[in-house]
Symmetry: C2
Subunit: 144 residues, 2 copies
């Protein structure tokens, strides 16, 4: 059954304060959810993607209001590509689909936790997770 | 032993393209790491914080180059507050410290996965995790 379009959300009140190209994307996101989002200057929230079965953190991508709307209403993880400036459905070209099990918003509205059934590798490099580069850290035990 | 300060990093090459107030923060971050970061327009990367023991995703915060430097070199999770525009060491006021076990950078340099030993609740609301608000999602099984 078609759902009537709710009002457009995600457009900041003072466009002069922000880079113009990102402002024009309309969204059908539930206004009650949109009102809780606290976006970056370019209108995005961080989406942390977690494997539903293992709990492993797989990747971080970015959603604007419409990407979140599509994710919630299709059950397929959909993001905004900052480099290509377009929506992308994970797995559309790679076949490495993400079937969404749950989505949680954090306390201050600037991040989402998306639990998915991940088909194949989450990372475009072929790694299971994008977080395969360890940085050197001084652990408290090693401090003088 | 004191470590000599490496060159300042994290300052974009064309400040005219970005909001001025965020650009002035110098950093001692290892230039080799700084070169791998792909920052938001306001100079930040997303830091996903995970409980070292359970793997639970606790929160997302933001780091600029210097916050990452402090996190890596002190073993105490340190972030940049977008609202207060200052550095904050997690637990400094709440006592809910985060002792860093490992930090991983993702494949495209715009997110970090920080594994911590979390003392008390990660969320300022008192919840163990900040992701306690579930959003309604249409799962693939429910689709026609």
């Amino acid at each position: 059954m078609p759902v009537p379009d709710p009002p457009v959300t995600g457009v900041p009140s003072d466009p002069n304060e922000l880079p113009a190209p990102t402002l024009a994307r309309p969204s059908r996101l539930d206004p009650a959810i949109a009102a809780r989002l606290r976006r970056t200057v370019d209108g995005l929230v961080a989406a942390v993607v977690r494997a539903h079965d293992s709990g492993e953190v797989l990747m971080v991508a970015w959603m604007d209001d419409e990407a979140l709307h599509r994710t919630l209403t299709t059950g397929r993880a959909t993001y905004w590509s900052r480099s290509r400036r377009e929506y992308w459905v994970k797995g559309e070209t790679s076949g490495h689909h993400q079937y969404v099990r749950s989505v949680a918003l954090d306390c201050d509205g600037d991040a989402l936790l998306v639990s998915v059934d991940q088909v194949g590798a989450a990372c475009h490099t072929g790694h299971r997770t994008c977080f395969y580069t360890e940085l050197p850290v001084v652990t408290p035990e090693a401090l003088p």
